[in-house]
């Protein structure tokens, strides 16, 4: 299947990311945009652009028939879904393929099977990939006690009808189970109207570690090592890195092979990610599979030197994977911070609005994947991501120190961002030490910093700005001058030697 013109059914940084690779490959790009995105960066960067409706995603970016129409009108022969939106929508994949347009993603069947958590767990078990030990059926207290012994304490008692952390109870030994079960059933009954419970092995301070895999249409598979995404806030990834400070070469190989078992079981094609929970003893358990390119693919690109979007396109064209497992490099360390328009001082409330000023970090080992520019709007209709800032260094601490430095260079005006939050994280000892777990940010470590040593400088600037403003108002009609000053406003003499 030729891929000569790609429609990107997405917006923001990932649309821009895909456009860049297409350009380098000499492939034309087609952007789609909602009314809110007429001036968005992906529209400016693409070779073609078509409006697909009002701002709400349900009326635009999620409208698969509109997108199909644009593909037909523009003559696109492939669609890249990015992440989110239609990327894990099997119906959309089927629709596009049925209309002769290559979907740059896995086969619809793979999306369906991995889309169901219970089905995915069964696939993993059958494939021989470890899952969190437990029984998924409900049974009597006595049978549960027997199973708990088999699984090994501590175990988690979970309400069958529960979800989102509700109706969960940690149990450390047989006695606690005996006394706890009646109470757990009582709570389950009052909360969910059903007293069924099941048990699962409790993983204390789990790490979220995921394996990037790739498959082609010829049955070849490779894994591109792991990413650790344990630094989360309310189950949202905040910082990702590759490799993981927790993973040994043996664990890496074992996790990679386990991930490929799952991929093979569903004849997976393209880029996919198998997510695991890992405990402190380096046991790991299948969590789910994401059947798309991940937000955090950049860190894998840094350490492997590969372009994952290019690989997606090559595979979609029917080509074989360009490398075999033993040709995949693991070089240095990469860290990624998700820069959001949100206010860490106000409980991370989104801060949409116009970006009045923007200077992004640069230099060796720094990569900024952005979907915005100075003057553009962070819309309230979509994910408030500004960019993904990633850095690379020969060692983990090199990458972290580089990130701290790059964050310091970041300047965003007009809206609030979480840059300062990341700066504090880069100096946070538990993070630097590499002892990560998914609950590490639950206790809010973020508070306003002590006043730093450079307050005087900031205040001096503010006073000069106020005085200049006053003088401007006093001496000139409002708004004279052509916007930017064409001569520096300079105060003070050079202290020349």
């Amino acid at each position: 299947m030729p891929v000569t013109k790609v429609l990107i059914a997405n917006r923001g940084e990932i649309a821009c990311r895909v456009i860049r690779t297409c350009r380098e490959m000499g492939i034309l790009t087609v952007a789609v945009y909602s009314d809110a995105d007429r001036g968005a960066l992906h529209v400016r960067m693409a070779d073609e652009a078509y409006c697909i409706g009002p701002a709400p995603a349900r009326e635009s970016y999620l409208m698969m028939y509109k997108i199909l129409t644009v593909a037909k009108v523009s003559g696109a022969d492939a669609i890249h879904p990015g992440y989110g939106f239609l990327s894990e929508n099997a119906e959309a994949a089927k629709l596009f393929e049925a209309n002769g347009i290559t979907f740059i993603g896995p086969r619809p069947e793979s999306i369906v099977r991995m889309g169901s958590k219970t089905e995915a767990r069964i696939v993993a078990i059958k494939a021989g990939c470890p899952v969190v030990p437990g029984i998924q059926e409900t049974m009597s207290d006595e049978d549960l006690a027997v199973e708990a012994e088999k699984i090994g304490y501590p175990v988690m008692v979970k309400a069958a009808m529960g979800g989102g952390g509700k109706g969960m109870r940690l149990v450390k030994n047989a006695e606690e189970l005996k006394s706890g079960l009646p109470r757990a059933r009582g709570e389950a009954l009052s909360s969910f109207g059903d007293d069924s419970v099941y048990i699962e092995k409790a993983i204390i301070q789990p790490r979220h570690i995921e394996i990037q895999i790739f498959g082609d249409q010829h049955g070849n598979y490779v894994y591109l090592w792991e990413r650790e995404c344990s630094v989360q806030r309310r189950h949202q990834k905040v910082i990702e890195e590759a490799p993981s400070p927790h993973v040994t070469p043996e664990m890496r190989a074992a996790m990679g092979e386990a991930a490929l078992k799952v991929a093979r079981a569903v004849n997976y094609v393209g880029a996919g990610t198998v997510e695991f929970l890992a405990d402190s003893e380096r046991n790991f358990y299948f969590l789910e599979m994401n059947t798309r390119l991940q937000v955090e693919h950049c860190v894998t690109e840094w350490i492997t030197g590969l372009d994952l979007v290019k690989w997606q396109i090559l595979v979609a064209r029917g080509e074989k994977l360009p490398l075999t497992q033993d040709q995949i490099k693991l070089n240095g360390w990469a860290v990624e911070c998700r820069i959001y328009a949100e206010d860490p001082d106000k409980n991370f409330m989104p801060s949409p609005g116009r970006i009045s000023f923007l200077r992004t970090p640069a230099g060796p080992g720094v990569r900024d994947d952005s979907g915005v520019y100075e003057g553009s709007e962070v819309s309230m209709f979509y994910d408030p991501m500004i960019s993904k800032l990633s850095t690379w260094g020969p060692t983990r601490l090199d990458a972290i120190d580089k990130m701290r430095s790059a964050l310091g260079e970041y300047r965003i005006g007009g809206i609030r961002s979480n840059v300062a939050f990341h700066e504090v994280l880069m100096e946070h000892e538990p993070f630097r030490s590499g002892f990560l777990h998914t609950g590490m940010l639950d206790k809010p470590f973020w508070k306003k910093k002590e006043v730093g040593p450079n307050l005087k400088f900031a205040v001096a600037a503010a006073m000069v700005a106020e005085l200049d403003d006053d003088e401007r108002r006093a001496s000139q009609p409002v708004g004279s001058g052509e916007g930017k000053p064409d001569a520096w406003k300079h105060w003070g003499k050079f202290n020349r030697l």
Partner: protein, 174 residues
Amino acid sequence: MKRTLLIGKETHDVELLRQDGVARLIWDGVEESLDILEVEPGSWSVIMGGKSVDVRLDTARNPDPDVQAFRATLYDAPYEFALQDPRKALLAAARGALASGGTLTAPMPGKVVKLLVKEGDLVTEGQPLLIMEAMKMQNELRSVSEGVITKVTTSEGATVETGSALITVGPKKA
């Protein structure tokens, strides 16, 4: 230019002077010369005592209109603070004084431009009582309580000193 710096619960007296091409900052009485340049609109390069700091300055919203709040992004961290014109602070204090004593006094030297009420008028909380010109600005002085005007001790065009009694507001009779 003098300002009161408000940061967290701290305050500092700061003053900026420009003379003979030299700028100086006086911080709680300690003077330092500075070299400051607006390198980009809203971005300032500040050199003081050899130290060089790049300051990105954004104004922030502040509930008190007499106070200008700033958010500055520096390499090391963001800084949030506010600057208050000390003369404005005096005005604000004066409004508080009325609340307790019932008599509005002139917060600083100035001129009564316009009286907006006369003796016997019923006034509501927040109602403007007179306009006074001070610091080249016209300031509306308002009533902080409901009541009745019991005494007007000034007149339009009068020049007043700090502390001069202007208007007294008494309790409304039931």
